[in-house]
Symmetry: C2
Subunit: 210 residues, 2 copies
């Protein structure tokens, strides 16, 4: 079966995305992007162990996140900067991997590549880029996440997660600014366990009969 | 587990959509829409038997397809009429079912509801509408379909399938017009078997060890 590399933060969306592709029969490997600003990737490593899926960290050029932070500081809000960063990450991974996926959902505004950006990357780099959750709305994702995962939830300032935001916040802080002036207060979550009793026949062979 | 009603033509996309949701643990029931113009739903019935999933036919008001054909005859091409028909079908099923899915793919231009149309239907009718394949591109869908299904392929004029197009073509013919003047020549396919040897661990409990 084909190998798919899933961009992985340890959060509920990228975990559900990985589970969906695993259930379709893909050979899933989780990839956490890091810019060597914080070692937040170790939270994703822990969640990957819980999911029993192979995982590695991809260290990318710090210039990408520096540029994203410049955009965020100039704009005063994070949308365009995060969008820029995600597109650069996909483009960079596309030089290395043939099939790439992420956990973007239908109701996410950013990061989100347009249909023509996706087609352009797929053609130029001869890869496949999959958004397994982009046809799933908020309620549907919540239902599936609640069914399969145990979450640790909290304010995005405090939650220990390996997403772009942690390193962006650190870099903003390093520049003497307060990230809270740029990021609206919002809740983040990380997968810290599986609800084994809820795992259906579809998942039993992978995680063992419960 | 929640029940999901998957709009089902017997084609590769709706079959793959059903398989994806089944693998996520949903209790899948296949639904074929029919307007009592042709009894094409029996082809979907055959494919549903092959997938070993429950299936029923939903007979909807003929006025819906009559109106779609009016739009197509006026436009000279089928896009807007099919779009209209699909939206009416979703709205009608939303009065009856809590979770509805279809097989629309990322690279389909029609039928396709906009993000705001989807949110409006979900809110107004208090339902969930899922497009499981809308994050999957042409090559990815082709890979998964080839992996799981045996297809019968042919010109859309001849292929025996239970999609909207068959009844729309019949209605255009009944009005003394030639459907080939409205539909561009294109290939259709129907799922006529499973590649059992290729079915992975994820599917074994459902279809039996091969």
């Amino acid at each position: 079966m084909k190998k798919v590399y899933v961009l992985f933060s340890g959060g509920k969306d990228s975990s559900l995305s990985a589970l969906l592709l695993k259930n379709l029969g893909y050979d899933v490997e989780l990839v956490t992007v890091n810019f060597k600003i914080l070692d937040t990737y170790r939270y994703a490593q822990e969640t990957a162990d819980i999911l029993k899926m192979p995982h590695h960290v991809e260290f990318l050029d710090r210039e990408i996140v520096e540029r994203a932070v410049e955009i965020i500081l100039r704009d005063g809000y994070p949308a365009r900067g995060i969008q820029y960063l995600h597109r650069r990450v996909i483009e960079t991974l596309a030089d290395k991997y043939k099939v790439i996926a992420d956990g973007i959902r239908r109701d996410d505004r950013v990061p989100r590549l347009s249909h023509s950006e996706i087609q352009s990357i797929e053609m130029k780099k001869n890869i496949e880029y999959i958004n397994p959750l982009i046809g799933f709305g908020h309620r549907t994702v919540k239902y599936l996440v609640d069914r399969y995962f145990i979450l640790s939830q909290g304010e995005s300032e405090h939650i220990l997660k390996s997403d772009y935001e942690s390193e962006i916040r650190a870099l903003i802080r390093a520049k003497g600014k307060d990230p809270r002036d740029y990021f609206p207060k919002h809740t983040q979550s990380r997968v810290i366990g599986l609800k084994k009793g809820e795992i259906t026949w579809a998942l039993q062979d992978h995680w063992g009969k419960s």
